[in-house]
Amino acid sequence: MKKNIIIITGLLVTVAVLFVHATETLEEQTGYAIGDMAADFSLPNVDGNKVSLADYGTAKGFIVVFTCNTCPYAKLYESRIMDLDKKYASQGFPVIAINPNDISQKPEDSMEEMVKRSKDKGYTFPYLRDDSQKTAMAYGATKTPHVYVLNKEGKSDYRVAYIGAIDDSPREIADVREKYVEDAIEALLSGNSPSVTEKRAIGCTIKWKES
């Protein structure tokens, strides 16, 4: 009897260890790494329409930015995100901004407030609401702002070419020495792979829905 209990306990512990290990591995694998193919999405835009990457037939790639109305770092980068679209949309790399924040925690990130902000500031790019947060999760975005530069290959393959920060100076635009996103796009435009593919920056944690 005692022996059986020991064996059963042993088995249970093994199962528990395996289970914990499996979940850990799963967690590590969420989100894209450089070179992965990004999935398309269909999310509501501030203009009332839905937007997908597939809508952009002539695009060479995309600057996908997870951002929001409320994070001070997102606000610091807002004008730079607008400038990126002005500079690169015409060259085939438009900005697609996505707001994934849970509005029960951040009411100022609601579609209504997004419409207001994009109008007030004069966004020239779509500003999409990721209510289910599935797109942010699939990409592995953790914070705002969090940028993914995608390079289009063939008709509908979007390869992740750069992940992370926009540049190296959040507070003072005048102190920017390295423009990571611009450098990545310039490399792609001239047919090369970006030399810098990942740079980290501080940001606000995405407000995930409490399950």
């Binding site: 001070p72 770092y73 953790t142 914070k143 969090h146 992370g164 920060a165 190296d168 100076s169 959040p170 507070r171 102190d175 740079k199 980290r200 920056a201 501080i202 940001g203 606000c204 944690t205 995405i206």
Partner: protein, 154 residues
């Protein structure tokens, strides 16, 4: 002895000291983190503009010294906004000495703390008494933090 006092007075005078928060360079922060002690260190990265960070500050404040844990608060507010960080702590009645990290090279700072840190805050690093590091890119409630300290102070 007098000499040592004089030296510490000078050093003390040189650091930007602002009632409870002193500005610190990344290298010096690492020196503090690498200093072996018998107790665990719980290092919390926060900023006055970060809602979830400010929300969890009182829990960190309350658990200073619990099971001899040393709570080290590191503000990532911009150096120019040290007053904001100061008043945020004051309003939450956190009186112990803490730091504002004077480092704007985030791509150097972030991986130097943990390879697992994507850069989102709040973020918390636990260093056990045998210098093992555990990193958490998440918020903590007071019971969770209590459990964390108990788990690592064994």
């Amino acid at each position: 002895m007098k000499f040592i006092l004089a030296i510490s007075a000078i050093t003390f005078g040189l650091t930007v000291h602002s009632q409870g928060i002193s500005s610190i360079q990344l290298d010096d922060l690492h020196k503090i983190l690498n200093q072996p002690t018998e107790n665990i260190k719980v290092v919390n990265f926060w900023a006055s503009w970060c809602g979830p960070c400010v929300k969890e500050l009182p829990a960190f404040g309350k658990l200073q010294g619990y099971k001899n844990a040393e709570i080290i608060l590191v503000s990532l507010d911009f150096k120019e906004e040290i007053e904001k960080a100061k008043s945020t702590l004051k309003r939450r009645e956190i009186g112990f000495e803490s730091y504002l990290l004077d480092e704007t090279n985030y791509d150097k700072l972030i991986p130097s703390i943990s390879e697992d840190w994507t850069g989102a805050i709040p973020a918390t690093l636990v260093i056990s008494n045998n210098q093992k590091r555990f990193f958490y890119e998440k918020s903590f409630t007071e019971p969770e933090l209590l459990e964390l300290i108990e788990q690592h102070s064994k």
